[in-house]
Protein backbone atom coordinates (compact mmCIF):
# COMPACT_ATOMS: atom_id res chain seq x y z
CA UNK A 1 0.00 0.00 0.00
CA UNK A 2 2.62 2.48 1.04
CA UNK A 3 4.67 1.54 -1.97
CA UNK A 4 1.80 2.34 -4.29
CA UNK A 5 1.20 5.63 -2.50
CA UNK A 6 4.85 6.45 -2.97
CA UNK A 7 4.58 5.68 -6.58
CA UNK A 8 1.61 7.93 -7.07
CA UNK A 9 3.45 10.66 -5.31
CA UNK A 10 6.46 10.10 -7.54
CA UNK A 11 4.18 10.30 -10.53
CA UNK A 12 2.79 13.54 -9.27
CA UNK A 13 6.30 14.94 -8.91
CA UNK A 14 7.48 13.68 -12.29
CA UNK A 15 8.94 10.32 -11.30
CA UNK A 16 12.52 9.47 -12.06
CA UNK A 17 12.19 5.82 -10.99
CA UNK A 18 10.44 3.54 -13.44
CA UNK A 19 7.15 2.17 -12.08
CA UNK A 20 6.89 -1.60 -11.75
CA UNK A 21 5.50 -3.18 -14.90
CA UNK A 22 4.51 -6.77 -15.53
CA UNK A 23 7.08 -9.39 -16.35
CA UNK A 24 5.95 -9.73 -19.96
CA UNK A 25 5.88 -5.99 -20.48
CA UNK A 26 9.33 -5.75 -18.99
CA UNK A 27 10.63 -8.48 -21.26
CA UNK A 28 9.12 -6.80 -24.29
CA UNK A 29 10.16 -3.24 -23.56
CA UNK A 30 13.64 -3.63 -22.03
CA UNK A 31 15.11 -5.45 -24.94
CA UNK A 32 18.24 -3.36 -25.16
CA UNK A 33 20.72 -4.40 -22.54
CA UNK A 34 20.91 -1.80 -19.83
CA UNK A 35 24.69 -2.18 -19.98
CA UNK A 36 24.93 -0.46 -23.34
CA UNK A 37 23.14 2.58 -21.95
CA UNK A 38 25.19 2.57 -18.75
CA UNK A 39 28.47 2.28 -20.60
CA UNK A 40 27.38 4.92 -23.10
CA UNK A 41 26.48 7.27 -20.25
CA UNK A 42 29.89 6.71 -18.68
CA UNK A 43 31.64 7.06 -22.02
CA UNK A 44 29.71 10.23 -22.64
CA UNK A 45 31.65 11.69 -19.72
CA UNK A 46 35.05 10.67 -21.04
CA UNK A 47 34.92 10.53 -24.78
CA UNK A 48 36.78 7.66 -26.47
CA UNK A 49 36.27 4.14 -27.72
CA UNK A 50 36.86 1.01 -25.77
CA UNK A 51 40.34 -0.47 -26.07
CA UNK A 52 41.16 -2.09 -29.46
CA UNK A 53 41.52 -5.49 -27.80
CA UNK A 54 37.75 -5.60 -27.32
CA UNK A 55 37.17 -4.82 -30.97
CA UNK A 56 39.07 -7.99 -31.87
CA UNK A 57 37.01 -9.81 -29.27
CA UNK A 58 33.80 -8.54 -30.82
CA UNK A 59 34.86 -9.67 -34.27
CA UNK A 60 35.91 -13.08 -33.03
CA UNK A 61 32.63 -13.42 -31.21
CA UNK A 62 30.84 -12.63 -34.45
CA UNK A 63 33.05 -15.20 -36.16
CA UNK A 64 32.04 -17.71 -33.54
CA UNK A 65 28.38 -16.81 -34.07
CA UNK A 66 28.70 -17.35 -37.79
CA UNK A 67 30.38 -20.66 -37.11
CA UNK A 68 27.53 -21.72 -34.86
CA UNK A 69 24.89 -20.70 -37.35
CA UNK A 70 26.68 -22.49 -40.16
CA UNK A 71 27.15 -25.59 -38.07
CA UNK A 72 23.59 -25.85 -36.90
CA UNK A 73 22.32 -25.21 -40.42
CA UNK A 74 24.60 -27.97 -41.63
CA UNK A 75 23.52 -30.31 -38.87
CA UNK A 76 19.83 -29.72 -39.53
CA UNK A 77 20.49 -30.29 -43.20
CA UNK A 78 22.32 -33.52 -42.46
CA UNK A 79 19.66 -34.68 -40.02
CA UNK A 80 16.87 -34.10 -42.50
CA UNK A 81 17.48 -37.14 -44.74
CA UNK A 82 17.91 -39.24 -41.62
CA UNK A 83 14.54 -38.09 -40.30
CA UNK A 84 12.94 -38.65 -43.69
CA UNK A 85 14.41 -42.14 -43.91
CA UNK A 86 13.18 -42.95 -40.42
CA UNK A 87 9.73 -41.64 -41.27
CA UNK A 88 9.60 -43.64 -44.49
CA UNK A 89 10.69 -46.73 -42.58
CA UNK A 90 7.98 -46.19 -39.99
CA UNK A 91 5.35 -45.70 -42.70
CA UNK A 92 6.56 -48.87 -44.38
CA UNK A 93 6.33 -50.74 -41.07
CA UNK A 94 2.82 -49.46 -40.52
CA UNK A 95 1.78 -50.54 -43.98
CA UNK A 96 3.42 -53.91 -43.56
CA UNK A 97 1.64 -54.43 -40.28
CA UNK A 98 -1.62 -53.31 -41.85
CA UNK A 99 -1.15 -55.94 -44.53
CA UNK A 100 -0.28 -58.50 -41.90
CA UNK A 101 -3.38 -57.55 -39.94
CA UNK A 102 -5.53 -57.85 -43.06
CA UNK A 103 -4.06 -61.26 -43.79
CA UNK A 104 -4.66 -62.42 -40.29
CA UNK A 105 -8.20 -61.15 -40.30
CA UNK A 106 -8.86 -63.01 -43.54
CA UNK A 107 -7.25 -66.05 -41.98
CA UNK A 108 -9.45 -65.63 -38.94
CA UNK A 109 -12.57 -65.41 -41.10
CA UNK A 110 -11.69 -68.56 -43.04
CA UNK A 111 -10.81 -70.36 -39.82
CA UNK A 112 -14.09 -69.46 -38.19
CA UNK A 113 -15.86 -70.63 -41.36
CA UNK A 114 -13.98 -73.88 -41.04
CA UNK A 115 -14.93 -74.13 -37.38
CA UNK A 116 -18.57 -73.61 -38.25
CA UNK A 117 -18.39 -76.30 -40.95
CA UNK A 118 -16.69 -78.72 -38.60
CA UNK A 119 -19.24 -78.01 -35.91
CA UNK A 120 -22.02 -78.70 -38.35
CA UNK A 121 -20.34 -81.91 -39.40
CA UNK A 122 -19.86 -82.90 -35.78
CA UNK A 123 -23.50 -82.24 -35.01
CA UNK A 124 -24.48 -84.34 -38.01
CA UNK A 125 -22.16 -87.17 -37.02
CA UNK A 126 -23.44 -86.99 -33.45
CA UNK A 127 -26.96 -87.38 -34.80
CA UNK A 128 -25.69 -90.30 -36.90
CA UNK A 129 -24.08 -91.77 -33.82
CA UNK A 130 -27.30 -91.53 -31.88
CA UNK A 131 -29.20 -93.13 -34.76
CA UNK A 132 -26.62 -95.90 -35.05
CA UNK A 133 -26.70 -96.50 -31.30
CA UNK A 134 -30.48 -96.78 -31.51
CA UNK A 135 -30.18 -99.19 -34.40
CA UNK A 136 -27.55 -101.17 -32.51
CA UNK A 137 -29.82 -101.41 -29.48
CA UNK A 138 -32.72 -102.55 -31.66
CA UNK A 139 -30.52 -105.13 -33.36
CA UNK A 140 -29.21 -106.24 -29.97
CA UNK A 141 -32.75 -106.70 -28.74
CA UNK A 142 -33.61 -108.66 -31.85
CA UNK A 143 -30.45 -110.78 -31.69
CA UNK A 144 -30.88 -111.37 -27.99
CA UNK A 145 -27.53 -110.03 -26.88
CA UNK A 146 -29.01 -107.21 -24.80
CA UNK A 147 -30.94 -107.69 -21.58
CA UNK A 148 -34.45 -106.33 -21.95
CA UNK A 149 -37.34 -105.62 -19.64
CA UNK A 150 -41.02 -104.85 -20.17
CA UNK A 151 -44.53 -106.16 -19.76
CA UNK A 152 -45.22 -109.69 -20.93
CA UNK A 153 -46.33 -113.15 -19.95
CA UNK A 154 -44.88 -115.99 -17.93
CA UNK A 155 -45.82 -119.52 -18.97
CA UNK A 156 -45.22 -122.14 -16.29
CA UNK A 157 -45.24 -125.72 -17.44
CA UNK A 158 -44.53 -128.90 -15.49
CA UNK A 159 -44.53 -132.62 -16.01
CA UNK A 160 -47.58 -134.53 -14.87
CA UNK A 161 -47.02 -136.25 -11.56
CA UNK A 162 -47.43 -139.66 -13.21
CA UNK A 163 -46.35 -141.30 -16.40
CA UNK A 164 -48.80 -142.14 -19.16
CA UNK A 165 -47.56 -144.68 -21.65
CA UNK A 166 -43.93 -144.48 -22.62
CA UNK A 167 -43.55 -140.77 -22.75
CA UNK A 168 -46.94 -139.33 -21.79
CA UNK A 169 -46.92 -136.88 -18.93
CA UNK A 170 -43.32 -135.76 -19.52
CA UNK A 171 -42.61 -132.56 -21.40
CA UNK A 172 -40.41 -133.18 -24.41
CA UNK A 173 -37.98 -130.86 -26.12
CA UNK A 174 -40.33 -130.65 -29.10
CA UNK A 175 -43.11 -129.46 -26.79
CA UNK A 176 -40.94 -126.64 -25.50
CA UNK A 177 -39.83 -125.79 -29.06
CA UNK A 178 -43.47 -125.66 -30.04
CA UNK A 179 -44.31 -123.41 -27.10
CA UNK A 180 -41.44 -121.05 -27.85
CA UNK A 181 -42.47 -120.82 -31.50
CA UNK A 182 -46.03 -120.22 -30.38
CA UNK A 183 -44.88 -117.34 -28.21
CA UNK A 184 -42.95 -115.83 -31.13
CA UNK A 185 -46.08 -116.26 -33.21
CA UNK A 186 -48.15 -114.55 -30.54
CA UNK A 187 -46.00 -111.44 -30.86
CA UNK A 188 -43.22 -111.99 -28.30
CA UNK A 189 -40.22 -109.73 -28.71
CA UNK A 190 -37.90 -111.64 -26.42
CA UNK A 191 -38.20 -115.11 -24.94
CA UNK A 192 -36.27 -116.88 -22.18
CA UNK A 193 -36.59 -120.38 -20.79
CA UNK A 194 -35.69 -120.56 -17.10
CA UNK A 195 -33.65 -117.39 -17.50
CA UNK A 196 -31.88 -118.54 -20.69
CA UNK A 197 -32.46 -116.14 -23.51
CA UNK A 198 -33.60 -117.69 -26.74
CA UNK A 199 -31.60 -116.37 -29.70
CA UNK A 200 -31.24 -117.56 -33.25
CA UNK A 201 -28.49 -119.88 -32.02
CA UNK A 202 -30.25 -121.30 -29.01
CA UNK A 203 -31.18 -124.95 -29.24
CA UNK A 204 -33.85 -126.66 -27.16
CA UNK A 205 -33.21 -130.39 -27.12
CA UNK A 206 -33.03 -133.56 -25.11
CA UNK A 207 -29.76 -134.73 -23.71
CA UNK A 208 -30.23 -137.93 -21.83
CA UNK A 209 -33.22 -137.51 -19.55
CA UNK A 210 -33.18 -133.70 -19.33
CA UNK A 211 -34.14 -130.89 -21.64
CA UNK A 212 -31.24 -128.58 -22.38
CA UNK A 213 -31.54 -125.01 -23.47
CA UNK A 214 -28.37 -123.50 -24.85
CA UNK A 215 -26.57 -126.69 -23.71
CA UNK A 216 -27.57 -126.26 -20.05
CA UNK A 217 -29.77 -128.85 -18.45
CA UNK A 218 -33.02 -127.72 -16.93
CA UNK A 219 -35.33 -129.38 -14.49
CA UNK A 220 -39.11 -129.00 -14.43
CA UNK A 221 -41.05 -126.96 -13.80
CA UNK A 222 -40.03 -124.81 -16.69
CA UNK A 223 -40.85 -121.11 -16.74
CA UNK A 224 -40.95 -119.54 -20.16
CA UNK A 225 -41.03 -115.74 -20.04
CA UNK A 226 -41.82 -113.55 -23.01
CA UNK A 227 -42.01 -109.80 -23.44
CA UNK A 228 -44.94 -108.53 -25.48
CA UNK A 229 -48.42 -107.13 -25.11
CA UNK A 230 -49.64 -108.74 -21.85
CA UNK A 231 -53.30 -108.18 -22.79
CA UNK A 232 -53.32 -109.93 -26.16
CA UNK A 233 -50.46 -112.43 -25.94
CA UNK A 234 -52.15 -115.13 -23.80
CA UNK A 235 -55.17 -115.22 -26.08
CA UNK A 236 -53.10 -115.17 -29.23
CA UNK A 237 -50.88 -117.93 -27.85
CA UNK A 238 -53.88 -120.19 -27.29
CA UNK A 239 -55.07 -119.50 -30.83
CA UNK A 240 -51.86 -120.83 -32.38
CA UNK A 241 -51.24 -124.46 -33.18
CA UNK A 242 -48.81 -124.63 -30.28
CA UNK A 243 -51.47 -123.33 -27.93
CA UNK A 244 -53.95 -125.90 -29.13
CA UNK A 245 -51.47 -128.76 -28.72
CA UNK A 246 -50.53 -127.58 -25.23
CA UNK A 247 -54.18 -127.37 -24.25
CA UNK A 248 -54.51 -130.96 -25.49
CA UNK A 249 -51.46 -131.98 -23.45
CA UNK A 250 -52.94 -130.30 -20.41
CA UNK A 251 -56.30 -131.98 -20.91
CA UNK A 252 -55.05 -135.46 -21.88
CA UNK A 253 -51.84 -135.95 -19.91
CA UNK A 254 -52.32 -133.71 -16.90
CA UNK A 255 -49.36 -131.53 -17.82
CA UNK A 256 -49.37 -128.19 -16.04
CA UNK A 257 -49.77 -125.27 -18.45
CA UNK A 258 -50.33 -121.84 -16.82
CA UNK A 259 -50.23 -118.63 -18.80
CA UNK A 260 -50.05 -115.47 -16.65
CA UNK A 261 -49.79 -111.83 -17.80
CA UNK A 262 -47.10 -109.89 -15.94
CA UNK A 263 -46.54 -106.15 -15.44
CA UNK A 264 -42.82 -106.52 -15.71
CA UNK A 265 -40.67 -109.26 -17.13
CA UNK A 266 -36.87 -109.08 -17.11
CA UNK A 267 -35.04 -111.19 -19.66
CA UNK A 268 -31.22 -111.39 -19.60
CA UNK A 269 -29.10 -111.08 -22.67
CA UNK A 270 -27.23 -113.95 -24.23
CA UNK A 271 -23.61 -113.66 -23.20
CA UNK A 272 -22.41 -114.96 -26.56
CA UNK A 273 -22.65 -111.84 -28.66
CA UNK A 274 -20.46 -112.71 -31.60
CA UNK A 275 -20.33 -115.41 -34.19
CA UNK A 276 -17.27 -117.64 -34.15
CA UNK A 277 -17.24 -118.78 -37.75
CA UNK A 278 -19.69 -116.86 -39.87
CA UNK A 279 -18.35 -113.70 -41.49
CA UNK A 280 -20.33 -111.20 -43.50
CA UNK A 281 -19.50 -111.71 -47.16
CA UNK A 282 -18.97 -108.05 -47.86
CA UNK A 283 -16.45 -107.79 -45.01
CA UNK A 284 -14.38 -110.87 -45.92
Amino acid sequence: MTHRDDRFRDDDHGAVEEPYTGLLTQVMTQTLDQDYLDVARRRGARVGDSPPGWRIGAVSVLLLFGLMVGLSALKTDQDQPLVAVERAKLIEQIENNHHKLDDQQANLASLSDEVATLQQRMTASMADDRKLAGQLTGLGVDAGTIAVTGPGVAVTVDDAGYSVGTSGGVILDTDLQLLANGLWQAGAEAVAVDGHRLTSLTAIRFAGEAITVDYRSLTPPYVIEAIGNPDTMPARLLETRAGQIWLDLEANFGIQFDVAAKEKVSIPGDARDRLLYAVAEAAS
Binding site: D33, Y36, W54, S72
Partner: protein
Protein backbone atom coordinates in the same frame (compact mmCIF):
# COMPACT_ATOMS: atom_id res chain seq x y z
CA UNK B 1 32.02 -3.66 -42.11
CA UNK B 2 34.51 -5.79 -40.25
CA UNK B 3 31.59 -7.24 -38.28
CA UNK B 4 29.71 -8.33 -41.40
CA UNK B 5 32.89 -9.75 -42.83
CA UNK B 6 33.57 -11.72 -39.66
CA UNK B 7 30.03 -13.07 -39.69
CA UNK B 8 30.22 -14.19 -43.31
CA UNK B 9 33.61 -15.77 -42.72
CA UNK B 10 32.26 -17.66 -39.74
CA UNK B 11 29.29 -19.03 -41.70
CA UNK B 12 31.57 -20.07 -44.56
CA UNK B 13 34.02 -21.72 -42.18
CA UNK B 14 31.18 -23.58 -40.48
CA UNK B 15 29.76 -24.83 -43.78
CA UNK B 16 33.05 -25.68 -45.47
CA UNK B 17 35.26 -26.96 -42.68
CA UNK B 18 32.50 -28.88 -40.91
CA UNK B 19 34.24 -28.97 -37.56
CA UNK B 20 32.82 -31.73 -35.42
CA UNK B 21 31.05 -30.69 -32.25
CA UNK B 22 31.29 -32.96 -29.21
CA UNK B 23 28.19 -35.15 -28.98
CA UNK B 24 27.52 -33.93 -25.43
CA UNK B 25 27.25 -30.32 -26.65
CA UNK B 26 25.12 -31.02 -29.70
CA UNK B 27 21.70 -30.69 -28.01
CA UNK B 28 22.66 -27.20 -26.78
CA UNK B 29 23.75 -25.83 -30.15
CA UNK B 30 20.31 -24.66 -31.36
CA UNK B 31 19.47 -22.92 -28.08
CA UNK B 32 22.97 -21.34 -28.05
CA UNK B 33 22.36 -20.06 -31.57
CA UNK B 34 19.06 -18.47 -30.51
CA UNK B 35 20.71 -16.87 -27.49
CA UNK B 36 23.56 -15.60 -29.66
CA UNK B 37 21.00 -14.24 -32.11
CA UNK B 38 19.50 -12.20 -29.28
CA UNK B 39 22.90 -10.79 -28.36
CA UNK B 40 23.73 -10.01 -32.00
CA UNK B 41 20.45 -8.18 -32.63
CA UNK B 42 20.89 -6.33 -29.34
CA UNK B 43 24.33 -5.27 -30.48
CA UNK B 44 23.03 -4.20 -33.88
CA UNK B 45 20.31 -2.12 -32.29
CA UNK B 46 22.82 -0.55 -29.92
CA UNK B 47 25.00 0.22 -32.91
CA UNK B 48 22.10 1.96 -34.65
CA UNK B 49 21.27 3.77 -31.41
CA UNK B 50 24.86 4.86 -31.32
CA UNK B 51 25.64 3.33 -27.99
CA UNK B 52 27.46 0.18 -29.19
CA UNK B 53 30.36 -1.02 -27.13
CA UNK B 54 32.62 -3.96 -28.00
CA UNK B 55 33.18 -5.03 -24.42
CA UNK B 56 29.50 -5.05 -23.58
CA UNK B 57 28.76 -6.96 -26.79
CA UNK B 58 31.35 -9.68 -26.10
CA UNK B 59 30.27 -10.11 -22.52
CA UNK B 60 26.54 -10.13 -23.32
CA UNK B 61 27.11 -12.63 -26.14
CA UNK B 62 29.16 -15.06 -24.07
CA UNK B 63 26.91 -14.81 -21.02
CA UNK B 64 23.75 -15.20 -23.14
CA UNK B 65 25.04 -18.35 -24.78
CA UNK B 66 26.36 -19.84 -21.54
CA UNK B 67 23.24 -19.07 -19.51
CA UNK B 68 20.90 -20.42 -22.19
CA UNK B 69 22.91 -23.64 -22.47
CA UNK B 70 23.14 -23.90 -18.69
CA UNK B 71 19.38 -23.53 -18.24
CA UNK B 72 18.67 -26.21 -20.80
CA UNK B 73 21.33 -28.46 -19.28
CA UNK B 74 19.76 -27.97 -15.85
CA UNK B 75 16.34 -28.73 -17.33
CA UNK B 76 17.70 -31.92 -18.89
CA UNK B 77 19.06 -33.02 -15.54
CA UNK B 78 15.69 -32.29 -13.87
CA UNK B 79 13.71 -33.98 -16.61
CA UNK B 80 12.06 -30.78 -17.84
CA UNK B 81 14.57 -29.99 -20.61
CA UNK B 82 11.91 -29.61 -23.29
CA UNK B 83 9.79 -27.24 -21.26
CA UNK B 84 12.75 -25.11 -20.17
CA UNK B 85 13.99 -24.94 -23.78
CA UNK B 86 10.55 -23.71 -24.81
CA UNK B 87 10.61 -21.08 -22.07
CA UNK B 88 14.06 -19.85 -23.02
CA UNK B 89 13.12 -19.72 -26.70
CA UNK B 90 9.92 -17.78 -25.95
CA UNK B 91 11.76 -15.13 -23.89
CA UNK B 92 14.62 -14.83 -26.36
CA UNK B 93 12.17 -14.79 -29.27
CA UNK B 94 10.23 -11.90 -27.75
CA UNK B 95 13.47 -9.96 -27.22
CA UNK B 96 14.62 -10.69 -30.76
CA UNK B 97 11.29 -9.50 -32.16
CA UNK B 98 11.44 -6.25 -30.18
CA UNK B 99 15.07 -5.64 -31.17
CA UNK B 100 14.30 -6.31 -34.80
CA UNK B 101 11.32 -3.96 -34.57
CA UNK B 102 13.59 -1.21 -33.17
CA UNK B 103 16.13 -1.87 -35.92
CA UNK B 104 13.36 -1.66 -38.50
CA UNK B 105 12.29 1.70 -37.08
CA UNK B 106 15.88 2.91 -37.40
CA UNK B 107 16.35 1.66 -40.94
CA UNK B 108 13.00 2.64 -42.43
CA UNK B 109 12.16 5.45 -40.03
CA UNK B 110 8.75 3.91 -39.58
Amino acid sequence: MIAVFGLALGVLAGLLLEPSIPIALQPYLPIAVVAALDAVFGGLRAHLDGVFDDKVFVISFVSNVLIAALIVYLGDQLGVGGQLSTGVIVVLGIRIFSNVAAIRRHVFHA
